[in-house]
Symmetry: C2
Subunit: 353 residues, 2 copies
């Protein structure tokens, strides 16, 4: 897929006018992309995310990997126009702090000791840590916002001005591009669709969970995790699940969201019934977003929609039943490179920011 | 209330540097305001909206009223920096057309004859009609968008960058100011919260009503009309309704939304129970808007919230139960002048547009 939108550049070609690095720090993997103002991604480098409580060590390792990538192209850090980095958490670009990022140990204040010397650099600015190594432009953001920018720069939503990106995977993430700009809201908290509620039962659930680290109510109905939980519960209650178990290599305990999605797309009625609540709630929420924001396009990323036309087809049919406001609902175009490419776009993109 | 933010200007004071007209065309009344770049509203003139199928006649009458207002200040039409006009419908500022405006007869294409000679100038641009009389700047928009701009220019949301205005009256209207700008979406259709759905029963209702002129599902649960319908149904089913009937002058048939709201605020349990569904659905929807958009403020206008602290207090308490994202929920500051003042702001305001 990646090769559809990227042309490899050879060493003997003339150098492009501007270079930048886009980095997507994930819970398990980190992806570094080096790209040019001509919208070419010339280096991609993926490696396991360094798990450490020490933010200084984290960025030391990250910049070693980055310099290794640059060396491949005969470039120096100082030649970059800037570096964009996306993280799975709430990121304040101005202060350079990151919160609500359980997958990033150094971002988490030590709750037992209540003392930053025992782990966690939550209050230390990423900007000040990076400043020792790089003095150029540094843009920090949430990973889903970066993915939305990536899709708008080089992916499914190329050049559009009103776009929502929603990722349906372990949880639900959401990034908004409105009036051609990243929309972050008053305190950088926009896009928390995971916490949507619909109906009084959900409202009580939200009241119970408020302020905890638990999944949001909407997320706990529609994410991949939710679909896995539903199928496990259905199997435990005694449904045969023959088709889904076969797809999971005959292992009943291994059946999860992706087997439900595959079986459903192959016409398995059990799988379709298990998927139905997640589909209906997602379609209702997207209908509401369309009514409120009138976006040109909703891009659906994350594991649940990936490589499976059934899921989005079913969503589209339900949305069309409930609203006649036009909005294109499409799968993400950049797969799991969207975040790193969006991080590049924060430096190299012109239409946004 | 109006006098709190407006200083009257006397004829013998020096003239302000720039003048503009802001006009709010309502279903029953039209309000013309003449204001200055110094944020002074010097003329207010309210009169019955002219009901006619003929758009040319409509604007001829409107400009007669406007010139009458200008004459009071010794001004000529040509001296205005611009004119802003808000309408109760979907307005395309570029083409100058207005649709979905049942209260404005000339905006409605004749459905019986299917022929524009039999009434309705739906396809005729307001811009071309007005051009005969005024060649300066003309800004056209929906009345709720205008009200949101008014509240942001001189009202409750003065100077804020992320604001939702929602009006709760006969129906539900919604205007969004995001990143300091009016947000209209891809085709000018943003803010249609009236059509939100929450739950499968509502989804079926939405499917049934799609493409009709009926109230949206959310609106039919939360508007003043909905509250009136609920109380009438409760009275018909035999509840005593003593307090509400007393507030309606002893006339059972006259009991409506405003009596429910007043009785509820005075502690009448029957009224509070009748109001509850409208409150809960409104509070859930505002919670979802807060999660998605992280606005600094939600301004609630329209007849239901006006002059009654109970309604907003109850909404705030429910929202606080479900989300800890901060957002101030306040009543509108400009009352029913917000639309005309917002129309002025489109010409005279600097922070927006």
């Amino acid at each position: 897929m990646a090769d559809m939108y990227v042309q490899k550049q050879h060493r003997d070609e003339p150098k492009a006018s501007g270079w930048a690095a886009g980095i997507d720090v994930g819970g398990t993997k980190t992806l570094i992309c080096i790209g040019t103002a001509e919208q070419q991604v010339v280096v991609r480098h993926k490696f396991p995310t360094v798990h450490t409580n020490d933010a200084h060590f984290f960025f030391e390792s990250l910049f070693e990997e980055l310099e290794h990538c640059l060396k491949q192209e005969g470039l120096l850090l100082a030649q970059l126009k800037g570096i964009g980095i996306g993280f799975p958490g709430v990121v304040d670009n101005d202060s350079g702090t990151i919160t609500h990022a359980p997958a990033i140990p150094w971002s988490v204040q030590d709750r037992i000791h209540g003392d930053s010397t025992h782990g966690g650099n939550a209050h230390e600015s990423i900007r000040s840590i990076v400043a020792h190594r790089y003095s150029g432009r540094l843009v920090l953001d949430n990973d889903v916002n970066m993915a939305a920018l990536g899709e708008q720069w080089l992916g499914a939503a190329r050049g559009l001005r009103h776009v929502m990106m929603i990722t349906v995977g372990t949880g639900i993430g959401c990034g908004l591009i409105l009036n051609g700009e990243m929309y972050k809201g008053a305190a950088g908290g926009a896009g928390e669709m995971a916490y949507w509620i619909a109906g009084e039962e959900q409202a009580w659930q939200a009241a119970k969970q408020k302020g905890t680290d638990e999944f949001g109510v909407f997320e706990s109905l529609t994410s991949g995790t939710a679909i896995t939980r539903s199928v496990k519960s259905a199997l435990a209650s005694g449904i045969p699940g023959t088709h889904m178990i076969r797809l999971a290599g005959g292992n009943r305990d291994e059946v999860g969201a992706r087997h439900v999605l595959q079986a459903a797309s192959e016409g398995d009625v059990e799988a379709q019934m298990i998927l139905e609540p997640a589909l209906v709630h997602m379609a209702m929420a997207l209908t509401n977003v369309i009514s409120l924001l009138n976006p040109e396009m909703i891009v659906v990323g994350g594991g649940v929609a990936e490589g499976n036309t059934y899921y989005l087809d079913e969503i589209r049919q339900r949305v069309a039943l409930w609203t006649d406001i036009p909005c294109t609902i499409v799968p993400a175009g950049l797969g799991n490179e969207a975040g790193a490419i969006g991080a590049l776009a924060t430096i190299l993109g012109s239409s946004v920011r």
